[in-house]
């Protein structure tokens, strides 16, 4: 017998990871404030063209301010601009550091699980008494190791012999142990997890440094973070816009010299930095890191950011019926009385027959009777004799003084019943069987009272979720081994768009290929080895942590909770990531309009004082106008950090409605917000007597 009562040895509990670090965790903010300085290294910043240009410009203005100071010229305004340009860069690096900081705490706890493992390397495959200690980092794929109760599993591998309960809290956050055994779909073990009872022999499958745990650490830390395809495209757009505005500002020297003096370099620098998309440039990597982090908090690991983006693009969701759409166990769904029997009479008989039945089916009958007919289950009456279920009779029940109550296989109870079974009863039983349910007969003193319909119940709320998915243009497809009729009935009840009945793994693969040929992206969840080809073919393959190694490698995401329903949330997280990026890009670009109104009248005030007519915000002075625009441009980055990390709210209202809402909020809002912000900063500067 397996002992699964041990307390978890180490690792975070699931609650810890879910809650994660709050947005304003002071420790993370403190650490990020320091780390932000380190990221000022131009070699690091060059990956981010917008912020890199800002840094170069900040250096230039700093030098000019220092020169003015040295020559005894007025330097305060230049120093002010330089300072705020540096702050713009710092705020951007700070945003990235905060996003990274939230993953670091998790990485640290994971790293502890990895480091101290010592392996018992088997010298001969057939003798598990012959082993020698070996450091986990020295193991090679193909090595056989013995892992006994209390040992950490040294590396990823496949159980080849034995059965054990394993605490996988280190990777899943779930402290209840799970069974791992050779053969079948539960043979994969993860390095860093703890065997809490019994023993197993594991064949190592991962080389040192590339285990699941290693990848997970790299992932939550963002160390191996590569730009996703969409991020690269956005970077190009931002770089292009930066070049365009560089041209616009640089050529201004020639234009302005036509009729007067060219504006000074610090003023041109201010114009340039406020026009290039610093807001989204500063927040872009934070958004990406936070998106991955949201997935990790949700206990799903994606092998790449690419997969997260693909999740947002999915058009078809393949969902297994059992366990995903339905609970996966049979429950009472209806009482169908025989002719001449009242529904309540049947319900009471069913309750009595099930009183001693501790199976989930039996419990569900009691629950259903109470819910539907108000029949309260009583304590087992004295003198009652329990008739247990046996494989021979396939009937169970209770003998009471007032009679004997039985429920069970229809055939058995029909044989015992006197006379011919009523036609109505037979047809009811047939109907239940046809619709995918299981009929149970109920009898009192051998008299047939009716039938109980047991069926696999669709989880509550599934229909609403499928409706929401449909509004976002995502088709849901139920995959089941049931026959067509049964599948159709459950599909209709659950509200899915399509189903694959009597599904084989090949059917799944074929369905995915067909959908992809029609230009759709497909997501699916799976755990078995025979799911692997379909998982690999799907655009998003969510493998279960409890699944086989083959499945885990074929998919591009692993769900540590092994809950296939989460595929739906994964899609939502993918969408949220893309929406956040788009919203902040739109906001950032829309901001430019107001900045023109602030800066243009100010920089040409010497040549054309009449252009003050464009100073619609009535900013107090040219210096104040320019400084206010630069300050707004820097502060807006900090102000948007929480939004970048948390993500823009996503709701399934359809693309057109979503677009309308977000365009209004971030497009129109992006045009208006800086008018207000710059004016406020200008007023504040007046109040402080700075400009």
């Amino acid at each position: 017998m397996l002992d699964i009562t041990q307390t978890p040895h180490q690792g975070t509990t699931r609650r810890d990871r879910r809650a994660g670090a709050a947005l304003g965790d002071p420790a993370i903010l403190r650490h990020a404030a320091l780390a932000a300085w380190g990221k000022l290294d131009p070699r690091h910043l060059v990956r981010n063209p917008v912020i890199f240009v800002t840094e170069v410009v900040a250096m230039l203005v700093t030098i000019l301010a220092a020169r003015a100071l040295w020559l005894g010229e007025p330097w305060g305004f230049q120093a002010g601009i330089a300072a705020w340009l540096w702050l713009t860069v710092l705020f951007a690096t700070f945003a990235e550091a905060v996003a990274e900081g939230r993953g670091r705490a998790q990485a640290d706890s994971l790293r502890r699980a990895r480091s101290e493992a010592m392996a018992k390397l088997l010298l001969r495959g057939d003798d598990r008494t012959l082993w020698q200690p070996r450091n986990a980092t020295e193991l090679r794929p193909g090595d056989l190791v013995l892992v006994e109760a209390g040992d950490l599993i040294p590396s990823d591998g496949e159980v080849v012999e034995g059965i054990a309960s394993v605490n996988e809290a280190a990777v899943t956050g779930e402290s209840a142990p799970v069974i791992r055994e050779s053969g079948g779909d539960r043979s994969a073990v993860t390095g860093g997890t703890l065997v809490v009872s019994d023993w197993i022999v594991v064949r190592i499958t991962a080389a040192a440094g590339s285990t699941f745990l290693d990848r997970m650490i790299a992932l939550v830390e963002g160390a191996s973070r590569q730009k996703t395809p969409n991020e690269i495209a956005l970077d190009i757009l931002l770089a292009g816009m930066t070049i365009i505005f560089l041209i616009a500002v640089a050529t201004l020297v020639g234009f302005a010299s036509w009729n007067g003096e060219a504006p000074s370099v610090p003023v041109l620098a201010a114009l340039l930095v406020t026009l290039i998309p610093t807001t989204i440039g500063g927040l872009l990597s934070a958004i990406g890191i936070a998106g991955m982090d949201r997935l990790v908090r949700f206990n799903v690991l994606a092998t790449s950011g690419r997969a997260v983006e693909a999740a947002g693009d999915v058009d078809v969701l393949l969902l297994d019926k059992t366990g995903t759409i339905t609970f996966g166990n049979r429950q009472a769904a209806a009482f169908l009385p025989a002719p001449g029997v009242g529904e309540r009479e049947l319900a009471e008989a069913a309750v009595l027959a099930s009183l001693a039945d501790e199976t989930p089916e039996g419990r569900s009958i009691l629950a259903f009777a109470r819910e539907r007919y108000g029949v309260e289950p009583m304590a087992l009456p004295a003198g009652a004799k329990v008739v247990p279920f046996t494989a021979q009779t396939r009937v169970s029940g209770l003998d009471l003084p007032q009679g004997s109550y039985r429920k069970g296989a229809v055939d058995t109870l029909l044989q015992g019943a006197p006379g011919e079974a009523p036609v109505a009863f037979r047809s009811a039983v047939d109907r239940i069987a046809r619709s995918g349910g299981t009929p149970l007969a109920v009898a009192k003193n051998s008299r047939l009272l009716g039938a109980i319909e047991l069926k696999d119940i669709v989880k509550t709320g599934m229909r609403a979720r499928f409706d929401a998915l449909r509004r976002m243009g995502i088709r849901t497809v139920m995959v089941t081994g049931d026959n067509r009729l049964t599948a159709a009935a459950i599909a209709a009840e659950a509200g899915v768009d399509d189903f694959i009945a009597e599904a084989t793994p090949e059917d799944k693969l074929a369905y995915i290929r067909r959908a992809q040929a029609e230009g759709r992206l497909v997501a699916m969840a799976g755990d078995g080895t025979n799911d692997a080809p379909a998982l690999a073919q799907a655009d998003v393959g969510l493998a279960m942590q409890t699944g086989t190694q083959a499945a885990r490698e074929a998919g591009n995401m692993v769900d540590l909770d092994s809950d296939p329903t989460k595929l739906i949330e994964v899609v939502e997280i993918g969408k949220q990531l893309l929406i956040t990026r788009g919203a902040l890009t739109t906001f950032s670009i829309a901001n430019d309009v107001a900045k023109y109104f602030a800066i243009l009248p100010a920089i040409f005030v010497a040549s054309y004082p009449e252009l003050q007519a464009l100073n619609v915000m009535h900013l107090a002075s040219p210096e104040s106008a320019i400084l206010s625009a630069v300050i707004f441009n820097a502060l807006i980055i900090v102000a948007l950090v929480p939004l970048a990390l948390r993500g823009v709210r996503y709701s399934a209202i359809g693309a057109a409605a979503l677009l309308r809402r977000n365009l209004l909020l971030y497009g129109v809002g992006g045009i208006l917000a800086p008018f207000l912000g710059i004016k406020l900063i200008d007023l504040l500067l007046q109040l402080l007597g700075i400009a």
Binding site: A233, N259, M472, I579, A583, D592, Y608
Partner: protein, 565 residues
């Protein structure tokens, strides 16, 4: 502004749209190669030229064929212009053009710009007009339309590498589209009083007894293709202001319609070719919306008059009539101006130099926005599609999917090429204009003082890079520096733009066409049209604001304050 004026504008626009609807469908048939009524002629051309019309070309092949055709066109036209003194059909005995002017003019007509640093009646022989300039009017227009067809095909199908056959497209567009309509249009212009003759200029004695030379020539049919192909190069120096090139209001209305029908129609052709007509309508709505707004702004600014003129006691009801002809009236001048600059045509029937500062700002800004409103024949559509891709990319993320336009994912490669294309205009216009404002040799060409002088220079490079060809006026353009750099601007504006666009087409054509769903970003309807209009303004226009602030905007506020230079 008056209701009658607006009614005129509305009527002309309605006629143009009404004509564009069937034309859009017809052009789709041209693109598909479905028209056969000139099949023998077509077959003869293919046989003579050794063209296999069914052989598809990838984007590189198509682009190279286009570049080769245009290079050959440039060489022939350059030679013709240089040698015209020794060639026939030269009754006035004009000499060959200078190397600078010939270079500038040849590029100008090959790129569909038709910037003219010369005056037709004082420099061009009839042979140069007909065999040189008019031929290029057809070829440059057909080139633009062919490129637009190729780009449309990239959106229409999934997973293909071929975009059609450039030579076959060129032949079909000339045979089935440009020639027939030009014939009808040319006859109409003859009927309205334009000359079409090879006889020499006429000497006339005026009432005062002075002698006047009245230039003539084969004008009517050249003017027809000049408008239809959004070329814009006038037969006569003052373009449609000349009584023989713009005989009256009716001819002006017809010229406006001729400029608009193909660009408007191509937007609808796009809808036909991609199998969703709503997509074409959305693009047309944006084009039409901008034309209406721009016309209204010009009309309003000019009707408001010039405050300095009004100070002299001129009747304010007249508006600003300097540089305009009474036979057209303000509304048609406003619509003509918005159309010719929005449509990359460049024909003019008023002198922009004399417009109020805001009235002059609008045509300038319309060109800077990328010549997509509605843009030149073909070039307007593919330019609009670049903006559509960028609009989809920026805002499309906000529906939570990788942005896609018509089922084609917009990814790094497309964005890179689109940004390269979008960079061409600001780099060329702002770079060269800014440089020319500090180079003494260039500055000498500017007669005007103050912000107006800056506008003149900015306009010249804007017009050249935008392949528009209209002149603001004032500038002495036939100098080695301006001839050369404006020629360069025209080259960049045409070919540095279209090569990346064809690259996008090549990349998009290869991609699978994804199925649309309710989760897909909708690219039809008012929401997308509004978004697209905003993106054109922000991504296409904002970078020009600093320069504009020092030009027309400064002039406007300075004028309002009563300051002159």
């Amino acid at each position: 502004m008056s209701w009658i004026g607006w009614a005129q504008i509305a009527l002309v626009l309605a006629l143009a749209v009404a004509a564009a609807i069937p034309l859009g469908r017809y052009m789709a048939a041209v693109a598909h190669g479905r028209l056969r009524f000139l099949a023998p002629v077509e077959a003869l051309i293919y046989r003579t030229a050794g063209i296999d019309p069914v052989r598809g070309m990838g984007w590189r092949g198509y682009t190279l064929a286009m570049l080769a055709a245009n290079a050959a066109g440039f060489a022939l036209l350059y030679a013709l212009l240089r040698l015209q003194g020794a060639l026939p059909l030269n009754p006035q005995g004009f000499d060959g053009l200078s190397p600078y002017l010939a270079f500038n003019t040849a590029i100008s007509f090959v790129t569909n710009t038709n910037w003219q640093a010369y005056s037709g009646e004082a420099a061009m022989s009839y042979l140069s007009q007909m065999a040189g300039l008019t031929v290029q009017n057809f070829l440059s227009a057909a080139t633009g339309i062919a490129l637009a067809f190729a780009v449309c095909r990239a959106f229409a199908a999934g997973g293909v590498s071929q975009l059609g056959n450039f030579w076959a497209d060129l032949v079909r567009i000339c045979l089935y589209l440009l020639l027939p309509i030009s014939l009808v249009l040319g006859l109409a212009f003859v009927a309205l009083g334009m000359p079409q003759t090879l006889s020499p200029y006429v000497e006339a004695t005026t009432l005062e007894g002075a002698t006047q030379t009245i230039p003539l020539g084969p004008a009517a049919f050249q003017v027809a293709i000049k408008h239809l192909g959004t070329n814009g190069g006038g037969f006569f120096g003052v373009n449609a202001l000349h009584p023989f090139e713009g005989p009256g209001a009716l001819a002006a209305a017809l010229q406006i319609i001729a400029q608009q029908i193909i660009p408007f129609g191509l937007a609808l052709t796009f809808g036909h070719l991609v199998g969703d007509r709503r997509q074409g309508r959305a693009l047309l709505a944006v084009m039409l919306g901008y034309v209406v707004v721009a016309t209204g702004l010009i009309y309003g600014a000019e009707a408001g008059g010039n405050p300095l003129h009004l100070a002299f006691g001129i009747d304010p009801a007249q508006g600003n009539m300097e540089g305009k002809d009474l036979r057209f009236g303000l509304p048609l001048v406003a619509l003509f101006t918005a159309t010719t600059t929005g449509a990359s045509c460049g024909a003019v029937n008023a002198m922009f130099d004399s417009f109020t500062p805001l009235g002059g700002l609008i045509p300038l800004f319309l060109i800077q926005l990328g010549e997509v409103l509605p843009g030149g024949v073909g070039s307007g559509l593919y330019g609009m599609l670049v903006f559509a891709l960028l609009a989809v990319f920026v805002a499309g993320l906000m529906v939570g999917r990788t942005p896609e336009y018509l089922g084609k994912k917009v990814q790094a490669r497309e964005v890179k090429l689109a940004m390269l294309a979008v960079l061409v205009l600001p780099a060329t216009i702002l770079g060269l204009a800014s440089l020319s404002l500090v180079l003494p040799a260039a500055v000498a060409s500017i007669p005007a003082q103050g912000p107006h002088g800056l506008t003149e220079m900015l306009y010249a490079y804007t017009s050249a890079a935008g392949n528009n060809g209209s002149a603001f006026g004032g500038l002495a353009a036939d100098t080695p520096w301006l001839d050369t750099t404006l020629g360069l601007a025209m080259l960049l504006g045409r070919f540095a733009y279209v090569v990346p666009v064809m690259g996008i087409a090549g990349a998009l054509a290869l991609k699978p066409k994804l199925a649309a769903s309710t989760g897909t970003f909708p690219t039809h309807g008012p929401l997308f049209a509004g978004l697209l209009a905003g993106v054109i303004l922000i991504l296409g226009g904002l970078q020009f604001m600093p320069a504009l602030a020092l030009g027309p905007l400064a002039e406007h506020f300075v004028l309002a304050a009563g300051r002159t230079f």
